[in-house]
Subunit: 230 residues, 2 copies
Amino acid sequence: MLMQSAIQARSVNAHHNPKPMAGPGPGPVDKAGAIEMMGAPMAFKRNVEIYGENEPAEYLYKVVSGAVRTYKVLADGRRQIGAFYIPGDVFGLESTDQHAFSAEAITDAKVLVVKRSALVALAGRNNEVARQLWTITAGELRRAQDHIVALIKTAEERVIDFLLDMAARIARGNRFDLPMSRQDIADYLGLTIETVSRTLTHLEATAAIELPSARCVVLRNRGSLGRLHG
Amino acid sequence: MLMQSAIQARSVNAHHNPKPMAGPGPGPVDKAGAIEMMGAPMAFKRNVEIYGENEPAEYLYKVVSGAVRTYKVLADGRRQIGAFYIPGDVFGLESTDQHAFSAEAITDAKVLVVKRSALVALAGRNNEVARQLWTITAGELRRAQDHIVALIKTAEERVIDFLLDMAARIARGNRFDLPMSRQDIADYLGLTIETVSRTLTHLEATAAIELPSARCVVLRNRGSLGRLHG
DNA sequence: CGACCATTTGATATGGATCAAGCGATGTGG
DNA sequence: CCACATCGCTTGATCCATATCAAATGGTCG
């Protein structure tokens, strides 16, 4: 199982120096949390690094548009994607002061950036904020636990889990567009790109899904997917 | 990959009704956290359930002695162990009100039990406690993330990761006794019991470890283990 | 139109699962 | 205290899901 995932010179380190881009300053304050209030908008181009593994976790991020992946690369080049983040998701939060994973923009993306220390300080005074930080971390924990369970399943089950998860998060009706490549999906699911591709093809042959184009998925009947399941 | 892990009538539900056993009441207060102060000691026999998946997460637990596993059983009987907990570890903390995993005593175990609502209430007033709850959750997250990364590795790498992790947690010198069975290890690592056994045998043949008895492990040289590694 | 990159498809190899004994330790009843 | 049963672990033989290697196809952008 070398399964070397092709991580050629794909990642471009932007040597990120978080300053608000010429932007609206403290963003629109709907019923929003502290991140919206304090966050400075920043833009990242596709495949640009937002932060690196083992860097001090100085900032916390919330996706406004686009998509982000967190990942870790092992010594021999295997890559494990920890999670995908889409608009509304918060990432970069770990209570330790070092990031456990790296983060990259999957597509051109806009994110709100908040200074971690400021938020933690605020949490010390405002226990609603403290509760929010905890809730976000617990949500990540839940996601990681689900990921662990998915990783012991068969290839087909992993792909189905992934599709259902993405559908729940981004589908309008039963149709959605994947922001990430087959390689990303493979590295998220612990499979090869070929196995992911074959599995999708097979699901399409089974009439469980439709693939109008490589990045577009239509769930044909969730029942059968559910039964093959989670 | 059915890999049905043998989960016969091993689990005995104690139908747990958390009341302190006749015990020392609020435990010794060293520099300890709220759990020590508020926790009521309880004893669980080997293989007895402490809580079940999807039960309301009413309590929080800290291991005093013995060992505990959390796990999830899929529809078809495959079991995934989420984590092992040893004295000093806190488990059962998830911010959602339902447990994501079940928990069982691996060996006869004593744990401190704290009412979740009481601790959360306290956290609202005392932000040191709030910070502790967050830190524990973040620690679990980190552990889950490491677990994810381990699950994409080869069988040998997974076993080595596991041994090094256990060694770091419980070894005196280079020797330690495993509280859990081969089946537990297999279900934690997403392997079969046979593969775990063979891998251990192979590591012993390589002089990387020694197995004076099935449950006792001696790390022979961490260097070579590290290189094969994590 | 041509080059490049992502994806699919095909053929083959293999790590780990499955099936099947065998073995050693632990505990129980006689 | 011993014989036997049980349980957890190891070892062996075979099989299969998924990796690997290789090539063809398709979609996108200059």
